[in-house]
């Protein structure tokens, strides 16, 4: 009798202990979103100024891009470009249904493209005049001018396909409690700044050929948590509170390697850290001062000491994987303190006793803006010290990462430290286009020759090769005017608990997206 009671108590406590140690049962996993994807206000891809991994799991795109930048079918089974580049015909996969049961048709595509016209992302479809529904599954994009970059745009997470009617009906409320896509996962709940919970779309059968998994995803439920602090995220991974981090700061790479349960994998980054220089504000109206500031940045020292040697230095504005980044090497910007000092002397800024240069009694004192994330604060302090080394006194001002964009719009910045995340040369247009002064054109760069080259690159390219050529020229010219100083190109490091998760052999696409997430499973 007593023995029986004791065993049952024992059994109860054992099962309680088992419950305590296994936080997620079944095919459930918790991911921590990349720190630069924190704070998404809603899951509306049309209106989004920033997207995160969950977007690519709720919404499928017409076209998928692989790591080698090649394009593959997704919602569109195939496509044809007219020889003159003035139209594209997309053949939609049959049987695709939105989360609300509606079928995906060419008419839906036409409606969706029109939604972009009023959004901040309208540049995505600027080249598209209209979309015609030839039949239910054939959508014809009629172009204003040839756009070799259309496939890239259609593969971006901003062009995940939502149900346009749902967006129109729900207005500002869309993407908060409900988001309607065709993706392998459905939005279950979204708590701003905290977490996004996705559940499997059991009807899913239209995966991209890049995915190994066929049919519905392996995971039943995924929680994406947002953590502003890298240390907290790392500690959570280490203590088993979460299963994977979608971005790992380089500071933690050695620690992760030392943990037997953790695995690390890296893919080429799409991010570039740089220092925009406002060409309209004194003293940076003088190109010599701009060049000096750019040459004062010691990219190698930053790579070695701030980022532990992981990643690569940046010598111009584009990631090295892009062909447009191969500009004339003499135009690349690398650390040259002697030249920086000489340029400043030439410009009339003489070194003072306190190590700060001055001209006509005015010290060379400038504002250096940054955002509050810890890596930016740290990098900015290094940049501050490097500028000080050539006699430029930079005063740091820190803004919250979600407000700094608005601050830039006022155009009062002088220098800033920031990064962008993009893998297409049109980012040069985005950040230096004369019609986007303030933000995104933080440098307030509006140069007639640059505008000419830009127009040619954006609208005058008929083929991909021609586009590469035009963008390389545009990129090279912009760089020669020093509206920015390149700093660093990270690689994207992810870490996961290998006792818990099975990750796909290789990451398809240029970052972790729904295409890869359908292949992730939990070890049983």
């Amino acid at each position: 009798m007593f023995a029986r009671i004791r065993t049952s108590i024992l059994a109860a406590s054992v099962s309680a202990a088992a419950l305590m140690t296994l936080p997620a049962a079944g095919q459930e996993a918790t991911f921590v979103l990349s720190t630069n994807e924190v704070g998404i206000p809603n899951y509306n891809p049309v209106m989004a100024v920033n997207t995160n991994t969950a977007f690519s799991m709720i919404y499928d795109t017409l076209v998928a891009q692989d790591a080698d930048l090649s394009f593959h079918p997704f919602l569109a089974e195939s496509w044809d470009e007219a020889p003159d580049g003035m139209s594209w015909v997309f053949h939609l996969k049959p049987g695709v249904k939105f989360h609300n049961g509606k079928p995906l048709t060419a008419a839906v595509i036409a409606k969706w493209i029109e939604l972009f016209r009023k959004s901040e992302n309208s540049y995505m479809v600027d080249a598209v005049d209209r979309v015609e529904a030839v039949d239910d599954l054939t959508a014809k994009f009629v172009m204003k001018h040839p756009e070799p970059n259309l496939l890239f745009n259609l593969s971006s997470s901003f062009m995940g396909v939502p149900d346009p009617d749902a967006i129109t009906e729900m207005g500002d409320n869309y993407g908060i409690s409900e988001a309607v896509g065709t993706g392998p996962f459905k939005l279950e709940s979204f708590t701003l700044g905290q977490e996004t919970v996705l559940v499997r779309n059991d009807d899913y059968a239209w995966e991209s050929p890049l995915s190994a998994n066929k049919g519905p995803a392996k995971l039943e439920r995924i929680t994406f948590r947002e953590m502003a602090e890298d240390s907290t995220a790392f500690l959570e991974l280490k203590s088993g509170g979460v299963d994977a981090l979608l971005s790992v700061p380089t500071d933690y790479i050695d620690q992760i390697k030392a943990e037997p349960t953790l695995a690390l994998f890296s893919i080429p980054g799409q991010e570039v850290y740089y220092m925009p220089i406002n060409v309209t504000r004194e003293p940076f109206t003088d190109i010599k001062v701009r060049q000096a500031a750019a040459l004062a940045i010691n990219q190698k020292e930053i790579l070695e000491n701030v980022f532990g040697g992981h990643g690569a230095v940046a010598n111009n504005f584009l990631i090295s994987a892009l062909p447009e980044s191969k500009i004339d090497p003499s135009l690349d910007i690398s650390y040259d303190p002697a030249k920086a000092n000489a340029l400043l002397d030439e410009a009339g800024w003489k070194m003072g006793a306190d190590g700060v240069r001055a001209k006509d009694g005015k010290p060379l004192s400038v504002a250096l803006w940054t955002q509050s994330d810890s890596i930016f604060r740290r990098l900015t302090e290094v940049v501050q010290a490097q500028l000080k080394a050539v006699g430029i006194d930079a005063k740091i001002t820190t803004f919250d990462s979600s407000t700094i964009r608005d601050q830039y719009k006022a155009g009062e910045q002088q220098l800033a430290v920031r990064s962008y995340f993009w893998n297409n040369a049109d980012i040069v247009d985005w950040f230096f286009g004369g019609d986007r002064l303030g933000y995104p054109n933080i440098s307030m760069f509006n140069d007639p020759k640059a505008e000419e080259l830009r127009d040619k690159a954006m609208k005058g390219s008929k083929t991909q090769d021609e586009r590469v050529q035009n963008f390389t020229a545009y990129h090279a010219y912009v760089t020669s005017q020093f509206p920015y100083a390149p700093i660093y190109q990270p690689e994207q490091n992810m870490a996961y608990n290998k006792d818990r998760l099975v990750m796909p052999d290789r990451i398809h696409g240029t970052s972790v997206t729904g295409v890869d997430m359908v292949d992730v499973s939990v070890k049983e």
Binding site: I176, L192, R225, L235, S239, S402
Partner: protein
């Protein structure tokens, strides 16, 4: 008692109005055009006009205040500039976390603080008292964010007993509650000790001893009941402190809550959010004082008598 409650609530009305005026004015005290403080930079003119009309920003300040207060009374706390979502829903998401953390911290620091205060008073000026008061001093002087980081390092990282951060499940509450609770414990212990010593020296306590009551029973059933009156008053006054002062702790442990919403709002210059958080905190503070008065009346028949 109901009469007292009604009168007490009526007394709160002018205070609430005064607080709401101050909070309303924040938008106007911050340098720049109030419209700029309500919209994102570069917002189209039509949107600006809409906001101006909604808040009546072109009308006299008193009218603006009226519009704002009327909306607040109807649960409309405005729209967040950054997230474009109703502030009320943001507050609604944050408040339960704040209440859970605040409530647990309050319970923890009251229980431990009262216990320590009673023990210290019982062994007044002897080693248990000195140890407790020494600990209390240290506990009240450690910066809470530092304490939080040390607790994370020790209990979450080294020992792995508790989750590092977030607000998932009861065990994620333990370290934040400890962090806030230690400061609160110090305060409660200090007040309890003084109150116990003061109440223990009163005449009626002597008579209780003369009646032959066991000392432990006198201390716990009689002296403590008296000592708790000031303790409860202080605790009630500290409700606002618990809710808002937890800011640092919410930040360190990456917990959602009123405090972190406020900080975020401040950092993002999201003034409708800032106003709403402050208003909630002010209401909490006022409810705290009200609660303190009510509890005091419940505990002390003399106060009840004076209320009629």
């Amino acid at each position: 008692m109901p009469g007292f409650l009604i009168r007490r609530v009526l007394l709160l009305l002018p205070v609430f109005l005064a607080v709401s005026v101050v909070i309303f004015l924040i938008l106007h005290l911050i340098p720049g055009d109030p419209v700029d403080n309500l919209v994102k930079v570069g917002t189209p003119a039509a949107k600006r006009a809409e906001i101006t009309a909604r808040y009546g920003l072109d009308r006299p300040l008193v009218v603006q205040y009226g519009i704002w207060l009327w909306a607040v009374m109807h649960g409309d706390l405005g729209t967040s500039i950054v997230t474009h979502r109703p502030v009320a829903s943001l507050i609604g998401q944050a408040l339960p976390h704040s209440l859970a953390l605040g409530g647990a911290a309050l319970a923890f620091s009251s229980a431990l603080g009262i216990l320590l205060g009673v023990v210290a008073a019982a062994w007044r000026d002897r080693w248990p008292d000195q140890i407790i008061m020494g600990g209390v001093l240290v506990g009240s002087t450690l910066p809470s964010f530092w304490l939080g980081l040390l607790l994370i390092l020790a209990f979450a990282v080294q020992l792995g007993w508790f989750p590092v951060s977030g607000a998932r499940g009861w065990d994620s509450l333990i370290l934040p509650v400890l962090t806030i609770g230690l400061g609160g414990t110090a305060l409660v212990a200090r007040v309890t000790r003084v109150a116990m010593i003061e109440a223990g020296g009163r005449d009626f306590v002597m008579l209780l001893h003369a009646k032959g009551l066991p000392p432990g029973r006198i201390r716990l059933r009689h002296v403590l009941r008296h000592a708790l009156i000031p303790v409860v008053t202080i605790l009630a006054l500290r409700i606002g402190w618990i809710l808002g002062g937890a800011v640092t702790v919410e930040y360190v442990f990456a917990r959602p809550g009123l405090g972190s919403t406020l900080i975020k709002g401040l950092n993002q210059h999201d003034y409708p959010v800032v106003q709403a958080c402050l208003l909630m905190l002010a209401v909490a503070v006022m409810l705290g004082t009200l609660l303190g008065d009510v509890v005091q009346a419940l505990m002390d028949p003399r106060v009840r008598g004076a209320l009629g």
